[in-house]
Symmetry: C2
Subunit: 218 residues, 2 copies
DNA sequence: TAGATTGTTAATCGATTAACAATC
DNA sequence: TAGATTGTTAATCGATTAACAATC
């Protein structure tokens, strides 16, 4: 029984592999080498082979990887086979977008409940889901076996919502609010804050030439 | 004139520093040590000092960093002072959410134009911005000095939209579509794909215990 | 002054890449 | 078989952390 701690860097790349493999499958490509995958993803082929080798021997020497087979393996590693129930808190614009996105997505996440603290929102419908009041959060988590909470409320309310999710026994949180959440170690918190992406994009646009020039500061 | 190549890891942390500093400022905290910042962010204090030192000597030995001053310095580094014009392509749910978000945001990005390929959308309004047809993209980029394009169209259309942005002379792209974009080296492409965050979250929920156990595969 | 904390060098840690025997 | 490509070990590279002189 081989057990290795897989690094965050590797886990982050798995969804990317899956994405490219799905695109290859759509193009009816049957096998692919680490060389080709590396070219498509701008990764080093050795890195791809090493990443995949953490989980088993999926390739064939001299041939490469069978696309269908590798997809199945990675789906298995990420446990996409089983559906995970998700709650969304914050029925604003972003919440709507995510619900809508979720409806068409074919991966394992399923938003099964939506909550909002504002009375005006409670009772309205998003894609057949009735927006519930926050008071029902803990009970619903238990009844519907919800494991992940997506936070799409304003930054000031995010920690409060997180606390309620944690109290309700949530296992993971995807936080869209631009604030850092405190959570116990058992609860995995992932940030999906595109403002940070925009800010670093701005940095790169303004420092395109090369390194940072300290005299810029004056 | 000291010039150093700043690593991606450092640039990614700058917005986080800014975020925490802004929260400290709101609480009227005047100075903060790398120790305290490290505690708030779960970072090593030495790392914070090293990161900041790339850009200049912002702290005072024995005291720490002045919150207001450091905020100004980081804003300067990220060039948040000057506004950057942004175009959004894809007037769907996510596009709406981003426009709305942008209206209230106080940072440097400003969505100044919205485009959509679908006739039904063209001419409708999002926060005072009239949705324009794709044909006007290149001209608008030039006229309005747009530097960044945000892509919120379905995955299949994303590369096509990216090509049009690139042809129009865009400098950076923030891609929300779950697909990998090909772009020349001069154009910085940043991915803001929360599906990937969700997938890795799922991984961690299912492999909480410890390392990966290869016999799980059977 | 004594205590605290920076900026920075050196040490450590971990992740990426190169290289190659194994083998399809 | 000859050519290709894996899985894996060893080498390299880069990022994080520890340690400490400088100094507020």
């Amino acid at each position: 029984m081989k057990q290795t701690k897989i690094s965050d860097a590797v886990v982050k790349r798995l969804p990317l592999y899956l994405q490219v493999l799905n695109e290859l499958k759509a193009r009816e490509v049957k096998t692919v080498s680490s060389q080709e995958l590396g070219h498509l993803l701008d990764f080093n082929p050795a890195q791809i082979r090493k990443d995949l080798a953490y989980f088993g021997d999926f390739g064939r020497k001299g041939i490469g990887y069978e696309v269908d087979y590798l997809i199945e393996k990675i789906r298995h590693i990420l446990k996409i086979n089983q559906t995970i129930s998700v709650a969304l808190i914050g029925a604003g614009n972003l919440g709507h977008a995510l619900c809508n996105y979720n409806k068409y997505s074919k991966d394992n996440m399923q938003i099964v409940a939506v909550f909002d603290a504002h009375e005006a929102k409670v009772g309205t419908k998003i894609n057949n889901l009735v927006v519930q009041p926050m008071e029902e959060l803990a009970d619903t988590i238990k009844q519907q076996k919800i494991r992940i909470g997506i936070i799409t409320v304003p930054a000031q309310e995010a920690q409060n919502v997180a606390n309620q999710l944690i109290a309700g026994g949530i296992e993971g949180i995807l936080n869209f609010a631009p604030t850092i959440l405190r959570a116990p170690d058992e609860v995995r918190v992932q940030h999906a804050d595109f403002t940070k992406e925009l800010l670093s994009l701005a940095y790169y646009l303004n420092h395109k030439e090369e390194g940072y020039d300290e005299s810029d500061m004056d």
